[in-house]
Symmetry: C2
Subunit: 300 residues, 2 copies
């Protein structure tokens, strides 16, 4: 079977690699050789677990360092079970999958926000802060002066402000024309080529770390902007919970400030496996994969 990429063999080579180290390790080899302290568990207090009909589970790591007020508002909504029984309302090909209240514009039928705020001052950027560790990519792009990672999030800064970048899998807050109109009750995940033009224009609150395929493989809406035209086309949301309520679901990620992550970025900038004939010598922020793996929760 011809394939576009042959990467699966990498892990199988580890025992051989331990005896006779290859000069250029693949991503699989780098992950296998990484040390336990290079991994960081996602904090369940900043993780959402969304379950769609059919038991499809999507896990989202939140980024309160970038969107403190919006993340807090989302947690209020989740605690009120606001999202349970709502739906995925919009899937626009090569762009976003969006969920929330299909009746949000109908004052009589919309679900009440309860203790959550209906509007929030925009958190499109946050002030630059040297104390926030920023792991810079070796390469640059035209969208920002500095691009790299803050913990598990792709991010950028210009020494005055910092912001999250709209890479595939990032989760943001739908809004109207008014900058403060987003509140976290309507969320989207990027499912296509990174729409970096949205950076600094909308509040990003985190990234999907598990189950993105359940959002990206949904039927596209054929209404304007990918909205579904008929209610029965929407995918129901069974529940959204904070991961503190789902003890079986725990994940960890390779720290982006670790030596292994640095090696991974270099391995992806210049692919050295036999399949590749010309290493790119460059990587785009949104092409950097984030290793994430499930972990067993500690015994109570």
């Amino acid at each position: 079977m011809r394939v576009v990429l042959a990467a699966a063999a990498a892990l199988a080579c580890m025992s051989a690699a331990a005896e006779e180290p290859a000069k250029h390790l693949t991503m699989g080899e780098i992950i296998a050789a990484s040390k336990p302290d290079e991994w960081r568990a996602f904090d369940p207090a900043d993780m959402l677990v969304m379950t769609l009909s059919g038991g499809r589970t999507i896990v989202i790591a939140l980024a309160p360092a970038f969107a403190r007020n919006t993340v807090a508002n989302i947690k209020i909504l989740v605690a009120q079970r606001y999202f349970d029984g709502l739906a995925i309302n919009r899937v626009q090909d090569n762009f976003v999958t969006q969920w929330g209240d299909p009746n949000a514009e109908d004052a009589a039928r919309k679900r009440p926000f309860g203790a959550a705020a209906p509007t929030i001052s925009p958190e499109f950027t946050r002030p630059f802060d040297k104390r926030i560790a920023f792991t810079r990519l070796p390469d640059t792009d035209g969208f920002a002066r500095h691009v790299g990672f803050v913990e598990s999030m792709p991010a950028a800064h210009d020494r005055r402000a910092m912001w999250l970048s709209h890479c595939t899998a990032m989760v943001g807050v739908g809004r109207d024309v008014a900058a403060e109109s987003g509140n976290g009750a309507e969320l989207y995940a990027v499912i296509g080529h990174a729409p970096r033009q949205l950076d600094r224009n909308i509040t990003l609150v985190g990234r999907v770390i598990h189950g993105l395929e359940h959002l990206s493989s949904l039927p596209r809406g054929i209404g304007a902007l990918g909205f579904y035209e008929k209610p029965e086309q929407r995918t129901p949301i069974v529940s959204v919970r904070l991961a503190t309520e789902t003890p079986g679901l725990r994940y960890e990620t390779l720290r982006t400030d670790s030596a292994s992550f640095k090696a991974l970025v270099e391995a992806r900038r210049n692919r050295r496996d036999e399949w590749y004939k010309v290493p790119a010598g460059h990587i785009d922020l949104c092409n950097v994969p984030l290793p994430v793996r499930a972990i067993s929760p500690k015994p109570q």
Copy 2:
């Protein structure tokens, strides 16, 4: 309903815009104001029409200027009805959808190539040729010295070689480790963030100009590299035809060397509608939309 982008209103404003021209036109306004001679019909002799079960139609514009021998081989396969009854075998999330013969590796069961070649010298790049019109983007990226468009295709060059770029919707030729092992019998379309590291490593033969959503919304395979594990998970291909055989399907595209396309690129580099608060001042090659529309075939 809060949306990530409010673009639909653009077309509705055209009559007003004609009386009192806006300083910054949106993409919809630019397309509406474009002139007929800024559009170019896709040549049906270089267009494939792939029909999946359920009547889902995907149209692919071929690029013989970049992959002359591989495109010719694909046309031989299509003329032999090679693809009819084969299947989509692999969908890897945020990467590619791939189709061909599920039994390609089984000498006893594989479908014969007939008059088509089993191997083809790689067409990963082609010699630079000043006579091939190259419309340069105003922005650059780290993957190539010059990026832009050759007709409807995203492309790059370094004044010695030219090549097509792996943007979303591009169609390429699966291959094994050997560079010449691709032949066009196994094809893939990019359905996720542009994997530009594949540029100059694999033969690209064209781009999907209609129906990409039928490839990107398919269930993901859970086998290695997104291959389906069970035959019944594969989506059957009803037929692949050259568009010369499908007289009802004709498309045209805004010429990438036209004034309207130039205006469109600028409108996307710096979004000026009221929704956007900070124009990006930059565009990535793979974020440039290609306007394509159906046209009525000329009476026979």
